[in-house]
Structure formats: structure tokens, C-alpha cells
Symmetry: C2
């Protein structure tokens, strides 16, 4: 049987602990060359006034977890202006006002399709889990106070993850929107069982925290060098959240992956409003990442982690990878199967008796 | 509704005429830069003694046909020796002894998944259709006699295609296996309504034919320079079927695509029994393909076709493309929907209300 699973199934069955365990395992594999992660590709074609149609895809194999995986998004895109910049915005153009992102999980032992499920909830959890693994391997063992910059969906996953890897006693949250930071703090206090208080300013949130987590959709810096002090660990879910000076102050700095940009394929004459690859290039020009280890290398013990309580450590989650969907997808599939979740379809519908 | 369709649906609903029409349309689009075809990627990891697990994928967009497409194969591979060479063989390791190759068809207007179906039958038809388009644009208008070298599944599709584009009066078939060439000739005579006779040797098959079609799985030349005479059109479904000298004799020569090799991703230390990219490199070293036009360029009128009845023309179908699945898949989907074919699943199962 091939399982068709939902975001609700992911929310109900997959814990951040599952994701952290699966990703750690998978990172050791890839750091040792035993896993495969095809960098994301993106095909873009015009789709009427100011819009584009895009397919992104990435494929991965983790023999140890017994899976192959394709993650595919099929998006209607726009690029509304925000100040001097543009922001990439997906339109929910599919029936019932929905988005399209799919994970296809295969068995690497038989080739069969094990499951198909949407990528939305698991994508949030993989980001949280990656930064949680950053905390686990880089933050002080006795770190117990956290500042979170941001109060959205990704911020929630960050807090779940940090509480999964350290005995966190208190959390302070700052977001420019007072209502969202209030709502977020109340909700997360309850779900985590750890007091989340609202900070009136980012400085107040960060002051004295052992760990600072950025989880915003800002297109400018939100974490600054002036906040760096001995023993701190900080992390971001995108490169541009962190001031370059702050990265320079880190004794141990890690990025997620050396695959910065998707590989682009565009119709002739298509003008990508974000510039073709220029964003990541600019971010890379500001700082020499060529000698910075990746998180998988740190997890695998190939690159050093924290060397003592006084060091400053940082994890820049510069780019997600399709590989994360293979790892967390494998963990999710095992639990979904055990729980009898999803719609069971005959595997014969997705296999064939001929080939080329 | 998202349709789950089968190879039987393809066989029943999609004609070679549909495929030729759809591909011609799509080739004009891509030759003019209005379509996108991401070259196939292949990820390979070891899967136990002498075996490997592989995922190949390619994505395409054809705005004119309103589709995006991902084609994915998930294979257990072996490389048994054949003389001094190795042959890549897929094992039917999925439940019920089956293979795994899938086409996901999306709407480029809404992003929604329109259909999911196996790639096996359509893959045969796209090869036939491409070579049929080669005949249509390169062979003499009055060509009426055909020689086919090969008597397998692909050979059948080649004959369907050539009969769709020229008023063929007689066909001679040669294959080294007497039983298969007998069976093939009887079966195709009946289905095409054109007499297919058995030739006792390849020379006898080719002698006097206006069009020679190679459709073998040979790893060595099966079509030779000595057979080339004025006015002939010949084609192959793989580069190595045709002797280099024969290609040199063509006044108008076309290849299918400039994307020769899949882009490879392998686990560290994985030894690809076929050599990494070396096969296509060797085939390219023997002949300068850099100045050879592609079939889409000929269909679009960007490169010239036949210039008079005495010219020798040739089409080398050097490599299939995922783009062909988008084009033929779009035609198939329209007919399947009109016929009420397949299993209708709620599109909500494959879409979501969150995104990243």
C-alpha cells in the first residue's frame, strides 16, 4: 500500500524529537558521503501579468534510513515590492485557495513509493529541528535562557526544538507586532510548559540570554554584533537576519549547507525579479563562507563544536535542503504506518510492469 | 479532482498522432525559448551486492500547453556483463515484481496536480513520436518503403509513427532472432494494415528502402555507411546504433537534444559501472555534434530540413527528455479527462493551506 498522508497527520504524529533524531542520523550519513542530496532546481516561466509559474525539485537518498525522496513544489509566484526590495510571494491559486508542495517517499530497497504527503508542516519542523541540532552541538550545556526574535510559525518550531535539546527555564519573545508577540507568548508558554514572556524591545529580549534564535521573514538584519558576549549561541533561519559583524565574532560558526542557490532554468528573456542568483551572491560576498563548516560536519565530528563555555557559537541556517524531507519523511512514514494513518492506495497504481 | 491514470489508460486513449501533434507543438515552444526542460538528474547510492538504488528526475514547463511536469524514476539497478561491456538492467523489485517510473502533471496556471501516471507506455510512444517527427520533417515526401532493424517494443512504436506521417506501402523487418521477427511482422502487419515482411538479413531489409529505422537495444552499430544512398532517410533511437561514417554521409543530420548525459550525484566512492559520463563522452568524441541542429530547431524552422530529393537525411535520437512527458502527458490528460478515465482523488489530498 502507498500512503497518502496530510499535514494534519504530520502535526499529530511527528514530534520535534523525531525530527531531530532523524536529521542527526541523516547528517552523519551525508557528512560521510553515504547520503545524497541533489541541490534544489527551480524552473520558472511567465504566467501572465507580473506572475510566474515555478517548479522546484530536489531528490535525496539515505540508504541507512532505507529511503529515496523527491520534494516538488508547483507554484504561482508574484514579487510585490517592499521598499527598495522585492519579496517573493506564492499565490494560493490551486482549487480551494491552496498551495502545492509534495514529498514523494520511496523505498531505497525496493524502489516502491511508500508515501505521498504535503511539504508544509514538515518543512517548518525540519527548519526547527536543524536549528535545534545547532543548539545541541554548539550551545553551552547549561544554557537555560532563550530570546526569540519573531513570533510566527517558524518561531514556534524554533522554541519546540530548543526546548527539546536543552533544559530551558525561560524564554523572552520580541516581534515588532505587539499583538502577535502577546498571542505567541501565551500560546507557546502553554504548549511548551516553559514561561514565554514578551519583551518590549529586541534589546530587552536578548539581554542576558544564553541562546538567541532569529525566526523572522525580515529582509534586513535583526541580530547585531553589539549583542554578542562570551558564551552566547545564536542562530538564524536565513542568512540576512544576522549582521556580518556578529558572524565575525563567532568562535565557532556553522552553516547548514554549501548549496546556497537553487540551480535556475528560465524561459528565454525571463527577468527574475529577485535577480538570477544575485541575492545569495551578495550575501556570500559580504562574508567568506568557504572555510565555514556545515552543521552535518559538526554533527559527524568532522568539524569541531564548542570549545569551552566562553566561546561564542553561531549557526546560520542559510538554506534548507531536500535531504531534510527524506530524513524527517522517513521518521514520519514509520509512525504513520504504525498508527494506520492516511489513505491507503494500491501500490500497483504507482508502479508498472514495463520500463525503459 | 486529481486523476490517477494507468499504462492501460495510455494504451487505450493516447494515439501516436496525439503524441506527434503534442510534441511538434512543444518542440516549437522550446526551440523558441518558451518552454523549459531541466536536464535529467540521476542520484545513485549502493544497495547491496552489485546493486544500486537510483532516483532520476526531470522537470518541464510548457506554458502554451498549460502544464508543468516532473518525471521521476525510482530504480533498483544492476550492471550485468555483456562481453567486454556492461548493460544497465532495472530489477522489478517493487511489490508484485514491478518497476517505478512516475509522471506528475501540474497546471501551470493554478499549480494544481492534474494527474499522476506511470511513465512506461508513454515513454515508448514519445520515442516513436520523436522519430516520426524526424521522418515528417526530413524524409522524402514520397517515401513509401521502410526497413526496421529491431523487433521489440520500441520497434513497434517506430512503425506506428512512420505510418502516421508518410503513406507507407511496405515494411521489411530484420532482427537477429527469427522467432521475434516473425511474430513482430505478423502482429504489426495486422495492427498497421501495411504489409510487414521478414528479411533474412539486415542487408536484405535495408536494400531499396526509402527510410531505415533502427530500434534495437544493441550496444554496437547496426546501421552502416555502406547502406547510405541518395534520397535515404535513416534514424536511430540511440546514438551507438549508427556507424559514424553513415552520419558523415548525411546532408542534413539532426539530434534530439544537446543534453547528452544526466547530471550525476553519487555517494562518495561509488563506482558507476558505466563510468561517470564516459559513455556519452566517447560517443561524442567520435563525431562533432556541436554544429548539429536539434529536432526542435528543425520543427521550428530555425534549422533547415531536407533540401531536395537526392539529399541523405538522418535523425539521431541521442537522448530522451523529460520535456516529452510534459507534452504527451498534456495530450493524454485531456483525453483521459474527456473519457472519464482513471481514479479521481480529491485535489485537496495533494495541495495544502500552508507553504514556506
Amino acid at each position: 500500500m502507498t500512503l497518502i498522508l496530510s499535514n494534519d497527520d504530520v502535526s499529530r504524529l511527528l514530534t520535534i524529537h523525531d525530527c531531530i533524531d532523524a536529521l542527526e542520523d541523516a547528517y552523519v550519513e551525508i557528512a560521510n558521503g553515504r547520503g545524497i542530496s541533489r541541490p534544489r532546481s527551480e524552473c520558472l516561466a511567465p504566467a501572465g501579468a507580473g506572475k510566474a509559474y515555478g517548479i522546484t525539485s530536489s531528490d535525496s537518498i539515505i540508504p541507512k534510513l532505507g529511503v529515496g525522496c523527491s520534494r516538488i513544489t508547483s507554484d504561482i509566484l508574484t514579487w510585490p515590492k517592499q521598499g527598495a526590495s522585492v519579496r517573493r510571494v506564492k499565490l494560493p491559486a490551486a482549487p480551494n485557495g491552496r498551495f502545492v508542495g509534495l514529498v514523494l517517499l520511496f523505498s531505497s530497497e525496493t524502489g516502491e513509493p511508500l508515501a505521498i504527503f504535503p511539504d508544509g508542516v514538515i518543512q517548518r519542523m525540519r527548519v526547527g529541528a536543524a536549528n535545534g541540532i545547532g543548539v545541541k552541538h554548539l550551545a553551552r550545556k547549561d544554557a537555560c535562557t532563550v530570546a526569540i526574535l519573531g513570533a510566527g510559525w517558524q518561531a514556534g518550531a524554533q522554541l519546540m526544538a530548543v526546548c527539546a535539546v536543552r533544559a530551558i527555564e525561560s524564554i523572552r519573545c520580541y516581534s515588532p507586532n505587539p499583538t502577535s508577540r502577546e498571542t505567541f507568548s501565551r500560546s507557546l508558554s502553554e504548549s511548551l510548559g516553559v514561561p514565554v514572556t514578551v519583551a518590549p524591545s529586541p534589546d530587552a529580549a536578548v539581554d542576558g540570554a544564553d541562546i538567541v534564535l532569529c525566526a523572522t521573514n525580515a529582509i534586513e538584519n535583526v541580530f547585531f554584533e553589539r549583542w554578542v558576549r562570551p558564551g552566547l549561541h545564536f542562530s538564524s533561519i536565513k542568512r540576512q537576519e544576522v549582521e556580518v559583524g556578529a558572524m565575525r565574532r563567532a568562535d565557532q560558526l556553522a552553516i547548514h549547507t554549501t548549496d546556497w542557490n537553487p540551480v535556475h532554468y528560465e524561459t528565454r528573456g525571463f527577468v527574475n525579479p529577485e535577480g538570477s542568483g544575485s541575492k545569495a551572491s551578495k550575501l556570500r560576498d559580504e562574508f567568506d563562507f568557504s572555510v565555514v563548516p556545515t552543521l552535518p560536519q559538526i554533527v559527524a565530528g568532522i568539524a569541531p563544536g564548542r570549545q569551552g563555555d566562553q566561546e561564542v557559537t553561531a549557526f546560520i541556517n542559510n538554506q534548507g535542503t531536500g535531504y531534510q524531507f527524506a530524513a524527517t519523511g522517513a521518521a514520519f512514514y514509520r509512525k504513520a504506518k504504525a498508527a494506520g494513518a492516511g489513505h491507503e492506495l494500491p501500490t500497483d497504481w504507482f508502479t508498472e510492469d514495463v520500463h525503459n
